[in-house]
Symmetry: C2
Subunit: 314 residues, 2 copies
């Protein structure tokens, strides 16, 4: 798997950064995470063929995360796409698409399969095909917003027995529930989530934006090999980050550290930061393996087989 | 006045041309003609402040001509715009804006004054402020589509008496009707339109896209100092142009010649034309003062006071 950032700015547009969009490529298939205005042009520039896109995952319905979807769908229509397109997004998106002539089901030569996400959901498996499985968890952003976690489908339900035992999981029934994706409570009263005890045998990607630090973000990021996390502000604007449902670079780094992530890419930068090294430096003081997400650069997502499953400091 | 093309491609997106959008600048005020996806980024690149935009003129509701409007409105909202924005566009646009949370009247800190254009209109004055007057006429594009003509407001109703007399206009009542913007029939049975006999004292800009050759396009272009006319195809694809409601470079040049325009800018190029010189050459054989519209170049629009009012060959 590899990840290509296409847009790393927050909502206020700037000349040299694009609005939010990420390409995840796995075995020749393409998955798009968010789709801000201009994404289809950025796909062209990155040399990513839109016909390869199998699914689009939208985190939330703020303009900078989905206004590029309409034009992308029109371009798919103009090129007479036949294969269905999955769109994972809040339910309201269907009503919006319905309001456009050209984007209604009868207007399109291909089928849109919208997996509608409902406000209030705690955990949902939203995609299982093409060798990957994607799950969603809620973030904290004022508006209903989801983060996503991508894993190889063949490894999702394998539980690391030794790791589970070390956390107090002893009964067979507990193992079975964990393997089915449910949390269990140990005899000691501790809640253990499946993500905490999964056998690590392939690369994991976590996508956490837009959000204040929250449990959903932490769970999505757990043991991820690559964590893309928003860092709209630096710590000097922590108040502003809280008011607007965003994270600072320090917040992102703490989540990476506490979740035992392998590598952190910061993104979704406020227009106020011309020089991003200040954000990188702030995060690195907490989590060393941090980088600024560079648009059009391909980041390989590789498994850390020899890494510990959880950060002992967490 | 000056014109800055921001996007000169037709609907199929390409790497090196943008979707349709034009900036008209007059005395520090900005008017936008069409607003394809990505226009707000192109405004930034061109150094045109969106706060200066007074009105947006949309020709028709095909994606490549208006999908950039949504993001532009959001950006105006984020920067707390206060002054109203006029939008001249088909009526259906209001319903589309209404479907977006964030773009409804109650969501915006400024007022959108939508001048709704109704299918079937023949001629409409759509804007008179800021020293310009803009009129609309229908084009022929399958879907309801308007072209626009921009004139200095102080000169719109002045009739050139000598020119009118030469066309057989003699009665005072005929002059009055022409001055009021109505066509008249001469005693010889000829119909004379107001645009044919206007006194020429300032620059005129005409914007004709998307369309097959048609009377509306010709009237809009009459004596225009600068005519922007679509040339989606070359003459070798004339059949395709007719089928899709578009023009060839030859069509555009014939309209320019027959209308007595001063200068022709070709635009709205099909993705099939990598080298546009073939379209330029084709048009120049019919109308010499033809150029390919270059994105981000400023074209001054100046009056040709010494030019004849109509082309004798027309």
């Amino acid at each position: 798997m590899e990840l290509i950032p296409l847009g790393t700015s927050s909502a206020s547009i700037v000349r040299d950064r694009g609005l939010t969009a990420y390409v995840l490529r796995n075995q020749g298939k393409v998955f798009l995470f968010d789709c801000g205005e201009g994404t289809q042009f950025r796909l062209l520039k990155a040399g990513v063929r839109r016909s390869r896109i199998r699914a689009v995952f939208i985190t939330h319905l703020h303009a900078d995360h989905y206004f590029g979807l309409f034009g992308l769908l029109i371009s798919m229509s103009l090129e007479r796409r036949k294969s269905p397109l999955m769109i994972i997004a809040p339910r309201e998106l269907s009503d919006i698409l319905q309001s456009f002539s050209g984007l209604r089901p009868a207007d399109l030569p291909f089928k849109i399969e919208h997996i509608p996400l409902e406000e209030g959901l705690e955990f949902q498996e939203v995609y299982m095909a093409d060798g990957i499985q994607v799950s969603a968890r809620p973030l904290v952003h004022g508006r209903f917003c989801m983060g996503y976690r991508v894993e190889r489908a063949d490894q999702v339900h394998r539980i690391d027995g030794a790791l589970a035992a070390s956390l107090g999981i002893t009964a067979k029934e507990q193992f079975q529930r964990l393997a089915a994706g449910q949390s269990v409570r140990t005899s000691g009263g501790q809640v253990v989530a499946p993500d905490q005890v999964r056998k690590k045998s392939g690369a994991v990607f976590a996508y956490v934006t837009d959000t204040s630090p929250c449990p959903g973000g932490l769970e999505l990021a757990r043991n991820a090999d690559l964590l893309v996390h928003e860092a709209t502000f630096g710590q000097e604007r922590a108040d502003r980050a809280r008011e607007t449902g965003h994270s600072t670079a320090s917040d992102a780094a703490l989540t990476a550290r506490n979740a035992g992530a392998g590598r952190l890419l910061l993104t979704h930068f406020s227009a106020r930061y011309k020089d991003l090294s200040v954000l990188e430096k702030e995060a690195k003081a907490i989590f060393l393996n941090t980088e600024i997400a560079e648009e059009y650069q391909a980041y390989p997502i590789t498994s850390r087989k020899d890494m510990p499953q959880t950060d002992p400091a967490a």
